[in-house]
């Protein structure tokens, strides 16, 4: 049975760090249902907050901690509101569907 877990991961702000962390979750065929990544006030460090639907979240936490680019991992109480607010904030990026671009535009 999968359950929803909210993880807070501090990681190095480098190319590939996010890919490694998310790939580890994909390996188990777990779904990441929400994801926010942003800079922290410490330079070179970013923070990732994600909701994962997992059978064994303990193993995910342990294996995330093992990654060289991961500085810390914590599971926090699941707060739907956090991601509700996030969804609201993201709505400003909803655009009407654009017509398919043609080759001429691409050449320009």
């Amino acid at each position: 049975m999968t359950t929803r877990h909210t993880l807070v991961v501090r990681l190095n702000d480098r190319p590939g760090a996010l890919y490694r962390a998310i790939g580890l979750i994909r390996r188990r065929d777990y779904n990441v249902s929400s994801l926010v990544v942003g800079a922290t006030d410490r330079s070179g460090t970013s923070r990732m907050v994600l909701v994962v639907e997992a059978v064994n979240v303990h193993q995910i936490v342990q294996q995330l901690s093992r990654l060289i680019d991961v500085l810390s991992v914590a599971e926090v109480a699941h707060e739907d509101t956090l991601f509700d607010q996030f969804d609201d904030a993201m709505r400003q990026f909803d655009f009407p569907v654009l017509p398919p671009s043609n080759a001429q535009e691409l050449v320009r």
Binding site: H58, Q62, S65, L67, I68, D69
Partner: protein, 668 residues
């Protein structure tokens, strides 16, 4: 401002070479190509320090680096170009990942400006290898190289070792910069758990379990060998009197001629070992990760045991088997802590019980074999020191004690358990398949292993590299493993084609030792082109024994036992291997009778060159015992007459009802 003529200027390729030399690398295995050409251009300048072995396939280069690492304990290095060169390294990288072998893989990459454009021979090798590397680096700036190479070697060899990939763009190799060798690691997110202080509370809890155990058992794995902790394991076993079982990768971590050594557990382990696991009440796992080939159906594994798990990787603890006590850290340090705690506890106990004299109250803790001695023993130089550590009797713990007046950490009341284990061994050992050799002149695979073991005993030690399949299990079962790093195989990944190139790497690491390869005819045909590499290198210390049965034998065995002899895709032909060997410029000999085996092995050993022995063995011999996939290790088939559907649930039938089938322990 640096001018182009600044004498301190170096190309990225030169910096990479120098960085490798600074890490103590002496041999690298690789194949050049477009994107790694600048590195190869620089290489001749460092010829006297960095020896490049030109392999015939990048997979061979990768396995050679693994063999080098496993034989020597140092980091193995392989080099390939971008695209297909890099993707050919994927299999050995995965193999090194599964077996925790320290490896640094260096790949060329297309120039920075071309990244992501589907340029010629561009492959996202970092993306491909993310799940099978401990870490990886894409280097686009030559100035990063001193730090990146130092970090890569540190990560590969520390903590739980593993493969690290360095992907370097061609322009970074060509750029001229002034290297800064003073840069330090930037590894805030990396914990080397070897250095972690052993948690004293966990040690106390473990000792509490051990001291009150009636049927304790030590399970020793690769971690003991990687940690160089064989002396500590011997001390712990002898001090406590607890019997020891060793996994496939733990073979050699504990001398198998020791009275406390029981043998190998698992799918093809001995019946008495699996029975002991199912009976034990405390299982102390040191540096093994409860692989499914060891545990069988994990939920029925060691059903009566409180498990103590010592591992350098915290994510392994509790991953597959529920653990009562987890101890994170280096195996040697953990065992030293256990011995100290056990002996102080036992001396407290004896003081209380016998109200001993003042003299014994001043007793200090035991002294231990220093880590240096442990590593020396590993290199095989101080076998006598190891021996002197009290091998006389399992009931007389003496190792690590300064004198006989020192406290013992012996656990009282173990004799009934040792008697039980002994009785299990007496009961099941005579039933082992190889002891019932068919009355035929046909060469049996067991004959080859027995002859190799006898020759090794007579001549002193050698390293044995095996491939994957039936011959791998026969070799693991039938040779006596005494020394760490004497048994090298592909365990976790089960990579056919591993053995020949891994032996090349081991032979480069240990030029003064004889490296025996035992390989099937299937695996041999996957990577035998590396014999050409051995010939080019002028190697003389590799001897290859092909256990040739004309099948992909392990799959055929499963098809025989579990799929009604439907031999789909398993019958296999091959060239005349002796002629093939001669074509490579090495000696080849065909052996098809029992009477020739001993002399063929002796001649190969004495011959000053690489030898390929093609042993034409009984085609349908099987590996027994076997635990059918997904079953409890209490359910073993000990011969072919017991079919899988005869296997009954654990505990449902006693061993006395049918000697071919053994059961042990109740399900959890």
């Amino acid at each position: 401002m640096k001018t182009p003529t600044d004498p301190a200027l170096r190309t990225g390729a030169q910096i990479l070479c120098e960085a490798l030399v600074r890490q103590g690398v002496d041999v690298i295995f690789g194949i050049p190509g477009g994107a790694i050409m600048p590195f190869y251009h620089a290489l001749p300048e460092y010829d006297d320090q960095l020896h490049h072995v030109l392999c015939r396939h990048e997979q061979g280069a990768g396995h050679a680096a693994e063999g080098y690492a496993r034989a020597s304990g140092r980091v193995g290095v392989c080099v390939a170009t971008s695209g297909p060169g890099a993707t050919n390294l994927v299999t050995p990288i995965a193999d090194a990942w599964m077996d925790s072998s320290p490896m640094v893989a260096i790949t060329g990459q297309v120039s920075s400006a071309l990244l992501g454009t589907d340029a010629f021979q561009e492959t996202d090798i970092i993306g491909i290898t993310v799940p099978i590397t401990k870490h990886s680096y894409l280097v686009r700036d030559a100035r990063e190289l001193p730090r990146v190479v130092a970090e890569a070697f540190h990560i590969a060899s520390s903590g739980r070792p593993g493969p690290v990939l360095i992907d370097i763009t061609k322009d970074a190799q060509q750029a001229s910069v002034v290297p800064d060798w003073t840069t330090t690691y930037d590894l805030a997110g990396y914990d080397d758990h070897r250095l972690r202080e052993i948690d004293s509370e966990a040690v106390s809890a473990a000792v509490e379990l051990l001291a009150n155990a009636e049927r304790p058992l030590i399970l020793a794995g690769n971690g003991v060998i990687q940690s160089g902790a064989t002396a500590e394991l011997l001390a712990l076993a002898e001090c406590t009197g607890i019997p020891v079982i060793t996994t496939l990768h733990g073979l050699g971590a504990f001398p198998q001629d020791h009275p406390l050594s029981l043998g190998m557990p698992g799918m093809h382990g001995w019946v008495h070992v699996n029975r002991a696991i199912q009976r034990c009440d405390v299982l102390l796992n040191i540096g093994s990760r409860f692989d499914d080939r060891v545990t069988g159906k994990a939920s029925t594994f060691a059903p009566n045991a409180s498990v103590i798990h010592v591992d350098v990787d915290p994510s392994e603890i509790g991953k597959l088997v529920a653990v009562k006590v987890g101890i994170v850290g280096d195996a040697a340090a953990a065992m030293r802590a256990l011995i100290t705690e056990l002996s102080s506890r036992m001396s407290e106990r004896s003081k209380l019980s016998s109200r001993m004299s003042e003299q014994s109250e001043r007793v200090s803790g035991p002294t231990f074999v220093a880590p240096e001695a442990s590593h020396a023993a590993e290199e095989g130089r101080s076998r006598h020191e190891l021996r002197s550590c009290g091998m006389t009797s399992s009931s007389q713990p003496s190792c690590g004690m300064t004198s006989s007046s020192q406290p013992s950490c012996g656990i009282t009341g173990l004799q009934p358990w040792l008697d039980e284990v002994h009785a299990l061994r007496e009961q099941f050992e005579p039933q082992q398949e190889y002891r019932r050799r068919p009355d035929t002149n046909t060469l049996q695979p067991h004959d080859v292993c027995a002859a190799l073991n006898a020759a090794r005993r007579a001549r002193g030690n050698c390293r044995v590299v095996t491939d994957v399949g039936q011959h791998q299990m026969w070799t693991a079962q039938l040779l006596d493993w005494q020394r760490p790093r004497s048994h090298i195989t592909s365990g976790g990944s089960g990579t056919m084609g591993f053995a020949v190139p891994a032996a090349l790497g081991a032979a480069m690491a240990l030029p003064d030792e004889t490296i025996w390869v035992v390989v099937g005819d299937g695996g041999f045909q996957m990577t035998n082109q590396e014999i050409a590499t051995m010939a080019q290198e002028g190697l003389t210390n590799v001897k290859i024994a092909i256990v040739n049965n004309g099948y992909l034998g392990m799959v055929r065995q499963w098809q025989q036992l579990f799929e009604g002899k439907r031999y789909s895709g398993t019958p296999l032909t091959g060239p005349d291997f002796a002629k093939l060997a001669e074509a490579y410029g090495v000696r080849g000999v065909t052996v098809d009778s029992v009477t020739q085996v001993d002399s063929a092995i002796a001649d190969a050993w004495d011959y000053p060159g690489v030898v390929v022995l093609d042993f034409r063995v009984e085609r349908e011999a099987n590996v027994f015992p076997i635990v059918p996939q997904g079953r409890s290790i209490g359910e073993m088939m000990t011969d072919a007459h017991t079919h899988a559907h005869d296997v009954v649930p654990t505990g449902a039938r006693s061993a006395t009802e049918g000697p071919a089938l053994t059961t042990g322990g109740a399900p959890r």
